[in-house]
Amino acid sequence: MDKHTTEENIMPQQGLTRRDFIKTSTGVALAAGTGLSLFGQAPAFAQARELHILEWSSFVKPADVETDRQAAEFGKQEGIKVRVEHINANDLNARATAAVESGAGPDLIRLLSNGPHLYAKGLIDHGELIQEVGGEDIYPALRDAVHVDGVYRGVPYFSGGGAYVYRRDIFDEAGAAAPQTWDDFMTVGTKVKELGYPIGQSLGHSFGDPPGFCYTFLWSFGGSLTDENGKVSIDSQATRDSIAYLKEFWVKACDEGGLAWDDTSNNRAFLGGTISCTLNGASIYFIPKRNWTEKKDPFVWTLFHFLSPEGRAGRFHTFTGQNSCIMTYSKVQSAAKNYIRFIHKDENFEKFFVINNGYVKGVVPKWDKHPLWSWDPALTPYRDLANYGKHYGYPGPYDRHASEAWSKYILVDLYARAAKGESADSVIKWAESELKNIYG
């Protein structure tokens, strides 16, 4: 105890009087009470039985409405309150991380892509449900996404992917048809760019379109990030050839501002009329179809889609799903399992499938035969995505390493740096080093 403190102790103490204390504590209690009454709850210790589902907020708004409706219907049948929370897709990982680490939160999370590999320790075994939903019939790319070390950590609910949306009026003016090969695409792209409507391709850090383009582009040239065993294989002649093509394609055919684009930028550019073609989910098409269907604006009727061009190794699409994953900490696991069974019943899934109007595909091939695919010819190419669909780990395993490589945008950056002028050797060397850090 130093001198100063000693002095403090021997000073006459005139602290709070009893009256002051009562005044203060009453004030604090009143303030706290006001807050409590305003918000109706302090910590909620006892709550009714509830199934809490967390999923993305779909750009097909009626799809969210249908999901909520089915959840309510299931809740009535099961005798449980069902709450569906829709959030921005980019925020799902933060919520899932917090839920798994803290052991509290939603009972069922609709994880994107191969999310089950990242959060496996917090997810129950879904093996029984997988068999009921389709078993071996489920597309392999989707099955791999939930199959972690021999255990199914989720059930694919639906799948989606991107196709190239294009303006037929501009293509007609250029005297071009939808390209079938990358060579065709170079020719078509050069013509439409000369008309002032280039191809728009995002090469920024955004989870959908940039990787969707880069991976399929590399695969179609015969390249890959790793081989079948997960050994890094980016340094190949195929990668070099793809880079050479991209450098030329970028200058001759593309909007060169795409280096800074994210997933929304190409939507805005396309709908703003500055580009004539871009790889995208069906969201670009749905906006004019929903909002501008009046006869006075025929823009929507000029829009069509085509599949990814074919390269020397074939045609490829990225094909990922959204997976229903039940958490190990959930106290209503049985109800959650029944909910998954409920939404996969043909009559229920069909309503969800139809209301998505072509954006959503089933997880088994039988949904490719649905008459929906002939209702709107502009969307028919989406039907065939699964035939060319691969996951982001292809041809290697779709594990957490693949996810890390994807989330670090290594391949996207490889092409972006090349488009900016860096040499093939330099970008490949950089990417190889990054990939080896991940895959070991």
């Binding site: 130093d2 921005n88 917090a98 939160g105 703003g272």
Partner: protein, 282 residues
């Protein structure tokens, strides 16, 4: 225009009014952009060939959507309550901690002061995982109390650090006079030091309020019901769907979400400036 001796109108224009005008444009442009985007119809928003700084056919459809189709009013109320409660709590703790560390000499006070500052440097993106565990154990998930109790982990260190510096600028003699006149330590603090430190306390309060108002990550992770959400999380959840951004309503949400903070600033701006830059002269 008032000019000083030896100062020409031209010089004043160059060194004062033009920079001031440029500064004002830079500061107010985001508000202007939010406003015009929120009142543009979709057809104009997506027409990149039109002049972006003017609106040809203003509409309130995005405002209507924001207030009628989302729970924006409720989110605003939640945000206000959480920010206010958090600010009060953080200031209370910050004032006591800063006073102790700047006025009382005890073993380890310097180390504690430095530790508090270092704590402030830990990014929330690292803290949210262990905090999620704590919040879950306290059964506070999806309750505003989850945020009211976790925001101070960021705010108390900053408030303490800021106020420590401010308290050190207040002459000890003032407090010692009060003590000689018979005031207790607490009375001297409450009646002498705190009134003098009002600008500093207000600065810390405004900082805390603003940070709580805008905070995203904890609010995203700890709250799940639509009725419990705050403005930053609610707006993003409801108005970003996949790769489709509802720009008009998003900007309306951003505009109305930033107004209260701007109002708070405008009331206390002089205190805030003196709190950040000035000190009590002895």
């Amino acid at each position: 225009m008032e000019t000083r001796v030896g100062e020409t109108y031209f010089k004043r224009l160059i060194v004062f009014y033009i920079p001031l005008f440029m500064f004002l444009v830079a500061m107010l442009f985001p508000f202007y952009w939010m406003l015009i985007t929120s009142i543009k119809p979709d057809a104009e928003l997506y027409n990149v060939r039109s002049v972006p700084f003017i609106v040809k056919e203003p509409t309130l459809e995005h405002w209507t959507y924001l207030f009628k189709e989302t729970l924006f009013g409720r989110w605003a109320l939640n945000t206000f309550w959480i920010a206010t409660a958090t600010t009060c709590l953080s200031l209370f703790c910050g004032v006591l901690a800063a006073y102790s560390l700047s006025r009382l000499r005890f073993f380890g006070s310097t180390t504690i002061g430095v530790s508090i500052f270092v704590t402030y440097l830990v990014p929330p993106t690292l803290l949210f995982i262990p905090l999620a565990d704590v919040v879950a154990r306290l059964k506070l998930i999806d309750s505003p109390w989850a945020l009211i109790l976790t925001y101070p982990t960021i705010l108390v260190p900053f408030s303490t650090w800021l106020l420590m510096g401010y308290f050190k600028t207040i002459p000890k003699e003032l407090e010692e006079c009060a003590r000689i006149d018979g005031a207790s330590r607490l009375q001297a603090m409450v009646r002498i030091i705190l009134p003098l430190a009002a600008p500093g306390i207000l600065s810390a309060g405004i900082f805390s309020f603003t940070l709580s108002w805008n905070e995203f990550l904890y609010a995203l992770v700890f709250l799940s019901s639509p009725v419990q959400k705050t403005i930053p999380v609610g707006v993003v959840s409801e108005l970003i769907k996949g790769d489709v951004f509802f720009w008009g309503s998003l900007m309306a949400g951003a505009l109305f979400g930033s107004v209260p903070v701007a109002v708070v600033y405008s009331f206390f701006v002089e205190y805030y400036v003196s709190g950040i830059t000035g000190a009590v002269k002895g």
